[in-house]
């Protein structure tokens, strides 16, 4: 795991996430985008693809659901494992994203220490199998 891509419109959550990654593994690169549309642009323009994508659901212009639908058709990118990183814990959202191809559903914790522990465990996962991971 070298590069992580976080797609989230919330700057505070971006900061928290980056800080947590820094503690877990300072060598990990982290790129960010504020919504699905900007994310697709960045993916196209970048030479190296990320190894894992964390995707928020509620974003302007192109939200998480729309991004998942869009990226299915992009053969160059649709092999990258994508998981949801959101404030929501609604069962409908979990089901819907699972059906759209998400590999995990991670509900944002408000405690930094909890975020570190859960994120560290998540990064150890192998996303090549069919399992769906739900983290509350």
């Amino acid at each position: 795991m070298n590069k992580i891509f976080l797609i989230d419109d919330d700057e505070d959550d971006q900061l928290f996430f980056k800080d947590a990654l820094e503690l877990i593994n300072p060598l990990l690169q982290c790129d960010t985008a504020g919504n699905g549309k900007i994310a697709l642009e960045k993916l196209k323009n970048n030479d190296s693809l990320p190894d894992l994508i964390f995707l928020d659901l509620n974003m302007p212009v192109m939200n998480g659901f729309e991004f998942l639908t869009e990226i299915k058709n992009k053969n160059h990118f649709n092999k990258i494992p994508i998981g949801i990183f959101t404030t929501s814990n609604i069962i409908d959202d979990i089901e819907r994203t699972k059906n759209l191809g998400a590999k995990f559903f991670f509900t944002k914790p408000s405690d930094f220490k909890v975020l570190c522990i859960k994120l560290r465990n998540l990064l150890k996962e192998d996303f090549t199998n069919e399992d769906f991971i739900s983290i509350k």
Binding site: D12, F16, T87, K108, S110, K113
Partner: protein, 415 residues
Amino acid sequence: MDSAKQEKYKQEIADLKIRLEEAEQLIDAIKAGEVDAFAVNNDNKSEIFTLQSGDYAYRVLVENFSEGAINITDDGLIVYSNKYFHELLRSPYENTVGNSIYHFIHPNSINSFTALLTKALEGKSKGEINLKAGQKSIPVYVSLTSLYPNLPTIGIIVTDLSEKKNNEKILAAKNLELENINRELASFSYVASHDLKEPLRKIQAFSKRILDVEKFSAKTEDYFQRIISAAERMQNLIESLLQFSKANTTELTFEAYDLNKIVEEAKSYLHENIIETQAIIETEHLPVINVVPIQFTQFITNLLDNSMKYSRPQVQPHIKISSKLIDGKKIDHSLADKQKKYHQINISDNGIGFEKQYANKIFELFQRLHGMNEYSGTGIGLAICKKIASNHNGFIIAEGTLGKGSTFSIFIPHE
């Protein structure tokens, strides 16, 4: 007296006898009720007199009341119409009596009226039809009665439904408006609560992060903890308000649901609290009843949460859930319908209880019996329970003994 004069007087007497006979016949006929009007010839004038009798009251009634009254033949010929009827149809008297009733019936009601008329020939019939006045359609309720054998006609009383129909339209429009407002309110509440919670989450997250990263004096740490607690209280308040709004605006879809399942769901929501307080929750076998599952689960969750929160210090919370069927007559509550049976579901605990005088107050919005420092709480939970009970066409009663425990009972009508 000469013979000419005698003849004259004889003739006069004969005339008078005839007139007297006629007068007596007339009086007999009047007595027998065979006539109610007669003409008297005075000189060259003819005067008509109608009799005022007990029938007078009926005449005045029919001519003046605010309903249409007509008499028609089997074929629909109008032989009598009161003032209200021809005025309702904006048709002068001369145009109405002698005309066919079908002239005044709206094309869309001709078949219905004919059916009513056919039925009335055997006795009576009632129904709603539309009359017409020019281009205008007038909705009316008609009551037809065959007047045979007294009169060879069908009597019809006509009630104008225009105002009622108009009111129904207004009511439907207001209902639609209300539904729209409710929907707007529900989505507003959802968005508002979501957007209000986000800054609170950040306040908590970053405050906690500051405490992780830096070492502060005990006083400063205490200040940060207060910031974190305040943010948490506000989050709970927003969450509770959202629930309260949902209890008021959600569409109520009832289904037969196993209450045991509902208790299990409530317990899973409160999983952490149950472990933290070491609460024991015992459930008797509960029935399947018609409820709005999401709301009823909220109801049970709120009560179980309260029981665990308001437990006695150093005493393990012990909560019992039971149910029974009870007669409305036996329930001491103004909303209890004596004609109905109710499902009574009780949630009893061994917590701090409350004084009897507050049994109603605790269900009021934002009413609490304790300070923020003694026990957490928004003062909304029980108001939500009361609203949910009402949504289920039932009601809730609280009983408590200070220092011993409380029992909350919901009564839902048994269908």
